[in-house]
């Protein structure tokens, strides 16, 4: 078993609700007209009866609030740890590894890219992103050393330090980080 497939299996075991919440809206399979719901023949290859196929939809409806509650709880607990400590490292490495393992499997559902989204038009976004990166590097180069902040040339990390000094700030940041990760997995 490869490392990636082992991670994916681990991801599925840790978070069984996530794939369900991210799955496309469930469509009940068409059943033969002659067979009444729940009593018809089993769906070929599935081993289930058509009437039982409604359950995943209800499971998914439950999964989203559970995920939101879990995310809030995670942000509140992980935000209580001080930065650069072992507990918060574990709290960040866990979701990060899980997300990469899920991402390795591909998108949760086929998502057609809009026709005409050519690479050269998408490259418009590279202009501010590269500019921002270079600006950050310039500020970093203006520091006395890589590990010493400079008030005259603050990096984004330096600017966020006051925010991340409080429990609430860390929790808000971690909740936003988690939402961003969920949004990326959905892409």
């Amino acid at each position: 078993m490869s490392v990636s497939s082992a991670l994916c299996r681990c991801a599925a075991a840790i978070s069984p609700a996530l794939p369900a919440a991210l799955a496309p809206p469930f469509r009940r399979p068409r059943r033969p007209r002659s067979a009444p719901a729940g009593r018809g023949p089993a769906i070929p290859g599935s081993g289930r009866r058509p009437g039982l196929a409604r359950r995943p939809a209800a499971r998914r409806r439950l999964a989203l609030p559970l995920l939101l509650a879990g995310g809030l709880l995670y942000a509140a607990v992980a935000g209580s740890f001080s930065r650069y400590s072992w507990p918060v490292t574990v709290a960040v490495v866990g979701p990060g590894t899980l997300a990469v393992a899920i991402g390795w499997q591909g998108p949760p559902r086929p998502r057609p890219v809009r026709a005409g989204v050519a690479a050269r038009r998408a490259a418009w976004w590279a202009v501010p992103l590269v500019t921002g990166g270079l600006w950050e590097l310039t500020a970093l180069a203006g520091q006395p050393s890589l590990t010493t902040d400079s008030p005259a040339h603050p990096t984004i990390s330096t600017l966020t330090d006051p925010l991340l000094a409080s429990h609430l700030g860390r929790s808000l940041f971690l909740a936003s980080w988690l939402i961003l990760g969920g949004w990326l997995i959905e892409r």
Partner: protein, 66 residues
């Protein structure tokens, strides 16, 4: 204007550029794709998908992890 202010202004200009691009992409008939569409395109390959998620994970590690 101090160098601190210049640095902050630079970040704000970059942020304004990002917001403006998104507004142009979504509110006008421009052919510039929105950020979501761009990311969908980038993440349509496994390399892009894993790359974006690793970048996201790095963000959390950078701000919090040892």
């Amino acid at each position: 204007m101090s160098s601190h202010d210049v640095t902050i202004t630079g970040y704000l200009i970059v942020l304004a550029m990002l917001v403006a691009l998104q507004l142009i992409a979504t509110r006008t008939r421009s052919r510039i794709p929105s950020l979501g569409e761009t990311l969908s395109r980038v993440m349509s390959t496994r390399t892009g998908r894993v790359g974006m998620l690793v970048a996201w994970a790095w963000l959390g590690l950078h701000f919090f992890a040892m």
